[in-house]
Symmetry: C2
Subunit: 191 residues, 2 copies
């Protein structure tokens, strides 16, 4: 999505440790019109694929998932993060390691909100090592639902999480793929 | 908002400990079209008040704040919860006690996203004791911004947080106010 690449170039800030800050439009302040455009792009990508649910994980995945839900016309379900090991039986639960926070969270979704009748698009803000997506895909499998594909706003191609999933035959269509970033610039993967 | 009262009556579940579960449309599964209608209602309430920012707190405040931002046409900023006491100097920070989780969180907003030029509407999903709103109002004050008003989707009138704020002269306009709820029913405050 060319407009997102341009937005990253104009507003993104590269910090040490492979951190790309996009807090001004995606992560803490939300440029709502631009995020709705991203939702429109996701709708275009999965046109006619019959999605019945968008699945994301709190917190910063929620806005773009919401926009996708509005444009596609289906509900959004967001997994909750739960540090507690005590999880009741009426939820789907998967374990996700966060490289950013160096912690493991359970992510949980109440069973009533995903079923084997569902056709699911997973949406998130960032894709780096792919651990969050793997947890969400696990929840889709536990529900017996059909996974249509995964879309993240910004994929860090150099961390290979997206390519690992593609090798497994999972459809991963990120809106922008950063191939390299450093103090001198941000470079995108060519389509 | 009559449509929200009807939705609470049809889909809400009253649990012990004054818990009202609305996970099927507001808290875990998001009825995106209905949440956009709530955004439209918030836009109608604050028509011509010149809002420049919607402020909320992660996670479940984000969808309704996002919808309000789309309908009003201004960015959304969401405060992040941070259990750590270590907060750097470039953020506004306030302390919020959660009766639900019996923990105290810092809520933080990067200073770059709120300024004295801003006219702010605070939006959240639930208003009970009002502790989250008080923290968000504190952040608006720290920024020197102007608070236009606060709107929560569902106010638990019997917990009096909203009325305490109104006594202080703060404009609090909830979309639905539950005056009483028990195993036999849910009763709303008359307008």
């Amino acid at each position: 999505m060319k407009a997102l690449e341009n937005k990253i170039l104009s507003d993104g800030v590269v910090l040490e440790g492979n951190v790309l800050k996009v807090g001004s439009f995606l992560n803490q302040q939300l440029d709502v019109d631009f995020i709705m455009e991203m939702g429109e792009e996701i709708s275009r990508i999965y046109n006619n694929d019959g999605a019945t649910k968008i699945l994301t994980v709190e917190s910063s995945g929620i806005p773009i998932a919401f926009a996708a839900g509005v444009k596609i016309g289906c509900p959004v379900v967001f997994a909750k993060k739960n540090k507690s090991a005590n999880v009741s039986g009426d939820v789907f639960c998967s374990s996700v390691y966060s490289f950013t926070h160096k912690t493991t969270n359970n992510i949980i979704v109440a069973k009533e909100f995903l079923s084997s009748d569902d056709r699911v698009i997973i949406v998130d803000d960032f894709l780096a090592n792919g651990k969050a997506l793997i947890g969400l895909i696990d929840i889709v499998k536990q529900a017996g639902a059909t996974l249509i594909g995964c879309t993240c706003a910004i994929e860090k191609g150099f961390q290979h999480g997206g390519d690992e999933l593609r090798k497994q035959g999972i459809r991963v269509e990120s809106l922008a793929i950063v191939e390299e970033m450093n103090s001198s610039g941000i470079y995108f993967r060519c389509n």
